[in-house]
């Protein structure tokens, strides 16, 4: 799998989902290259989270889905940490469950939290909890990282910091990332491509490339090109 670094990691062919006879997701087709960072952007109820959960293997679906990935990891909207485990034990959980090898402390240093490894989740701020959650996802060195509005509940400053950190983690680790968000500016900042979903039943109404370079720093947010990308996507979004 390693040598096909620009191969297709993920392909969906008419993937659809119905809840109690009602279509939640209209047949959707797209593919994601290995190492790509894409956003699924849409209003609430557009089925973007459902789509992500289908890719994660958490939901049933109709259609054809191919995931070229030995390992995938998921970051939830709430940090979803086990309150009775320390930060380090939380990060080590995927290794424990799968029997894979990995270094939880190294994963914690990736998110800048090596010093709090012995603390418990109730001793951390919301932003730190989310970093622990990201470290837990990275510990098994996934080739596909799925994030479901991970920063939505955080304050703006923390959210911006985490967006910058996620982008640099992606640059250094090179995994494929699918990032669900309802914020156009977040999608523009973190990803190289945004798929815009319409309201229920969700379908893809735009597949937009974001050409803002690889490295993204905080000052990019005031760049005219960034602002025009954001206003374009906001305009497309229902």
């Amino acid at each position: 799998m390693g040598e096909s670094s620009r191969g297709t990691q993920l392909s969906l062919d008419n993937v659809a989902r119905t809840f109690n006879g009602r279509a939640a997701l209209a047949p959707i087709s797209f593919s994601v290259k290995s190492g790509e960072f894409i956003s699924l952007l849409g209003p609430s109820g557009s089925g973007k989270s459902t789509l992500l959960r289908i890719i994660a293997g958490l939901e049933t679906y109709e259609g054809d889905l191919k995931v070229e990935s030995v390992s995938r990891a998921f970051v939830f909207q709430d940090a979803a940490l086990l309150p009775w485990r320390t930060v380090l034990q939380n990060v080590a959980l995927p290794l424990e469950l799968t029997g894979a090898s990995g270094d939880p402390l190294a994963a914690l240093s990736l998110v800048g939290l090596k010093d709090v490894s012995t603390l418990y989740p109730n001793q951390l701020s919301g932003g730190m909890k989310m970093r622990v959650s990201v470290a837990r996802a990275l510990v098994s060195k996934p080739s596909l990282l799925l994030l479901d509005e991970p920063f939505a509940a955080l304050d703006e400053r923390t959210r911006h910091r985490l967006q910058e950190d996620l982008r640099s983690l992606w640059i250094s680790l090179g995994m494929t990332v699918v990032f669900v968000t309802h914020s156009a500016s977040e999608a523009v900042f973190v990803s190289d491509r945004a798929l815009v979903l319409s309201g229920g039943p969700g379908r893809v109404i735009a597949d937009h490339a974001i050409n803002l370079g690889r490295e993204r720093v905080a000052s990019l947010r005031s760049d005219p090109q960034f602002i025009s990308e954001v206003s374009y996507l906001s305009g497309v979004m229902p």
Partner: protein
């Protein structure tokens, strides 16, 4: 200050009862004075202590048994919805049968003495453990369930590493309710089967020793409080890392 507030109604209550006695509204033989109760606690201390330790032993054994059996039954019921649908209605039904009505049957089955007392305390205290543990096992955070599914954890691993630890606050709250009930169940059992504070109350009643009845009742309340205090202490330690809301139950 925490201990001062509950003392105020106690002092007011004792003062009110004293006033009722003093003005002859309630006859003397129905209510002892606080001094009489204290005197009984001192003079009958050997008999009261025997009763107290016997009731304490029976209630604690019953509580441990209902804790173990209640959790085990709740785990089984949480594993199979068919089993739950078959068994749970009976658990609810048995809870509504008054223990005082079953107690004579227990004497027939287990004879006079401790086994009947423990059975009586066990029967009344197991239900809250089952109900509360089951609630805890069924309310696991859905994100955490998904997390374990993503890493393909087996049902067994999910149970041990996620659902049981997640249910701990509910398990403790069930045990706290069971603790009070186990003392009640033990004393009801002792009324019928003999022994413990139940017997002391029963004997003192027939001897018109209202002061001794009060002393024994006081001790049984104290026993319930002590068991709950120990449980609170254990649960505080076990849940010390949980969020404040879970710790304050």
């Amino acid at each position: 200050m925490k201990f001062v507030w509950p003392l105020i109604p106690l002092i007011l209550g004792v003062a009110l009862l004293e006033a009722l006695r003093h003005f002859g509204i309630v006859p003397q033989y129905l209510l002892p004075t606080p001094e009489e109760v204290l005197a009984s606690l001192r003079d009958d201390r050997l008999e009261l202590w025997d009763g107290f330790s016997s009731t304490a032993t029976s209630s604690i054994i019953a509580l441990i048994l209902s804790g173990i059996a209640g959790c085990a039954i709740a785990v089984l019921l949480s594993l199979s919805s068919v089993l739950k649908r078959m068994v749970y209605p009976y658990a609810v039904f048995f809870q509504t049968v008054p223990i005082i009505a079953i107690a004579p049957l227990l004497v027939i089955w287990f004879g006079f003495g401790r086994p009947t007392v423990i059975a009586s305390a066990f029967i009344v205290s197991i239900f809250p453990v089952i109900a509360s543990t089951l609630l805890g096992l069924e309310s696991t955070d859905p994100s955490l369930v998904d997390l374990f599914r993503i890493y393909r954890a087996s049902a067994w691993t999910r149970l041990w590493k996620l659902r049981i630890p997640f249910a701990m606050p509910q398990i403790f709250s069930g045990l706290r309710i069971a603790a009070g009930l186990s003392v009640i169940g033990a004393i009801v059992g002792e009324f019928i089967a003999g022994g413990g504070l139940g017997s002391v109350v029963d004997a003192a009643r027939t001897q018109q020793r209202i002061d001794k009845v009060f002393a024994a009742v006081l001790l049984s309340a104290l026993l319930g409080l002590m068991i709950v205090a120990v449980l609170n202490f254990v649960s505080k330690i076990a849940l010390r890392h949980w969020h404040a809301s879970a710790r304050e139950i």
